[in-house]
């Protein structure tokens, strides 16, 4: 293998490049990025960057003086992949020929029809999105957030601290019920209500209210209720950025690039990692997209190992994410199913300070914690232990 093309210049792409070099690949590496920027970190976009406590240079993901010997092709997206010739074509007409390809194109936010035509209706995925949103987050304004997932809730928290009137609407009765279960959703609800966020659960959004372009006036809910807004954030989830792969023969579906348990796509020599990918998960016996920062960072080494022909891929740790809301740190690891039992191990959820496990037939399969970093790490190690992993699978 002489040349590797990495498509997507963000966390998964950069982690893949680092892994390539660490695993001894000395050949040419071309990094294709649709955005004009070198890799930057997204989590602060809904937190400290949005609050104005961090600026652009703080977001860079590259270490000072880090030189991986890369060829950067930034500012023009890949538009097609020809796997037989192993060629990636770019929007500017140029092409990159490579022996191996790493797909790391991440995900794109879902939108409401017509939302692009409004200046005050936002999504939040890129630095550009964050700058546009930040500029409009002025004290006293009314923000309606559509979607109570991590990004929606974090923006709600940041916006409240900036003195903004915030309403969050979501089809689920309580925020994050699907991810964390009803009990923890109740804690999240309490945290937000206590800090003055108006949460409207069980609400279906019909569309935006407004003249069709310029400034939207609000959000229309199913059933007639209309929420006036000075600005709107659509945080309704993401879809993998894989449209450009249609027709390439690489197997994709709505979950992303379908890969085996070590990141290899349906085409040998093409691996995928990060938010654009759905790896086969033995426990679920299905493909599963892990849209979190840590998965993009850790799994890159596994995918690269597959690409370079390493026969024993390192095991991946159980999924993990964190979230910062109202100055509190929420952490989750493992896998939770709807019928797992929540057992509080430490603290009290009502005090917004606790650690709880999700148990399946008594066995811990997931851990959620608020402000319990120390014990959380211990539990994370317990969950990552091979014995537990195996028992869960059995």
């Amino acid at each position: 293998m002489r040349t590797v093309a990495v498509v997507g210049a963000s966390l998964a792409g950069l982690s893949a490049v680092r892994a390539l070099r660490r695993q001894g690949f000395e050949g040419r590496v071309v990094v294709v990025g649709g955005e004009p920027h070198r890799p930057y970190d997204r989590p602060p976009l809904s937190k400290d960057f949005l609050a104005g406590r961090l600026e652009e240079p703080d977001l860079t993901l590259e270490a000072e003086g880090e030189d991986l010997g890369l060829e950067w092709r930034l500012g023009s997206p890949a538009v097609c992949l020809d796997p037989s010739a192993r060629t990636v074509r770019l929007g500017d007409g140029s092409a990159v020929q490579a022996d191996g390809v790493v797909l790391a194109t991440g995900a794109l936010p879902c939108r409401l029809p017509g939302s692009e035509r409004y200046d005050n209706v936002h999504v939040l995925r890129t630095l550009r999105d964050a700058l546009a949103l930040r500029e409009q987050l002025l004290p006293g304004r009314r923000l309606v957030v559509v979607g109570a997932g991590l990004i929606g809730l974090e923006v709600a928290s940041t916006a409240r601290a900036l003195g903004i009137d915030v309403t969050v609407v979501d089809p689920q009765a309580a925020p994050m019920t699907e991810a964390l279960g009803l009990d923890v959703a109740g804690v999240v609800t309490a945290l937000h209500e206590r800090n003055g966020v108006r949460l409207l659960g069980g609400a279906r959004v019909e569309g935006l209210v407004g003249p069709g372009a310029g400034r939207a006036e609000g959000v229309q809910l199913h059933g007639g209720l209309r929420l006036p807004a000075d600005l709107v954030l659509l945080a309704m989830g993401v879809r993998p950025a894989v449209e450009w792969l249609h027709g390439s023969g690489v197997r994709v579906d709505r979950r992303g690039v379908l890969c085996d348990g070590a990141g290899v796509s349906s085409i040998p020599g093409v691996v995928a990692v990060g938010d654009c990918s759905a790896w086969y998960d033995v426990e679920d016996a299905d493909f599963r997209r892990e849209e979190h920062w840590t998965a993009a960072r850790e799994r890159a080494a596994v995918a690269v190992g597959s690409l370079l022909g390493c026969s024993t891929p390192a095991p991946v740790r159980p999924p993990y994410f964190w979230s910062d809301q109202f100055g509190l740190r929420l952490q989750f690891t493992g896998r939770r199913r709807a019928d797992d039992e929540l057992v509080v191990e430490e603290g009290d959820p009502l005090d917004l300070d606790f650690l709880a496990t999700y148990r399946r037939e008594g066995l811990p399969v997931g851990v959620v914690a608020l402000e319990r970093g120390r014990s959380f790490t211990k539990w994370r190690r317990v969950l990552a232990a091979p014995a537990i992993q195996q028992a869960v699978r059995a």
Binding site: L61, A190, L191, W293, D351, L352, G373, R374, T377, R381
Partner: protein
């Protein structure tokens, strides 16, 4: 300065010592004892809460790894090393000599963060 008893610090564990800035003392599985600044250089996380493996501790939040011997960080998001402090063990007592270098504290730590303080009191 004495920071703790070795017998209170099981191998594989770390402990935070409340100094300003706080220090983390680790006892590795191989029986060595190290001391570094406790606060991650990326954000406000306690490295004593981190995942200790060999001579490295992984930050509990975003997984940057710090070498306990040198303070060096493997890869971002943390970009700056932590300070290391000299350790000596005499009998069961662990002593450290604080580094005289300036600490690499993350932005916002030790300084007011601005914005109205959110209410995080209990709900009961």
């Amino acid at each position: 300065m004495r920071v703790c008893a070795l017998s209170e610090l099981a191998p594989g564990e770390g402990r935070r010592v409340e100094l300003d800035p706080p220090v983390a003392v680790f006892h590795t599985d191989d029986g060595d004892v190290y001391a570094i600044d406790d606060t991650c250089t990326h954000q406000d996380a306690s490295l004593a809460d981190g995942w200790l493996e060999g001579c490295e501790v992984e930050c509990p939040l975003h997984a940057s790894r710090f070498d306990l011997r040198t303070g060096a960080v493997d890869a971002p998001p943390a970009k700056k090393p932590v300070r290391t402090h000299e350790v000596s063990v005499e009998g069961d007592d662990v002593y450290i000599t604080l580094s005289e270098a300036a600490p690499n504290l993350p932005p916002g730590v030790g300084a007011p963060t601005g914005g109205s303080a959110p209410s995080t009191q209990g709900l009961a």
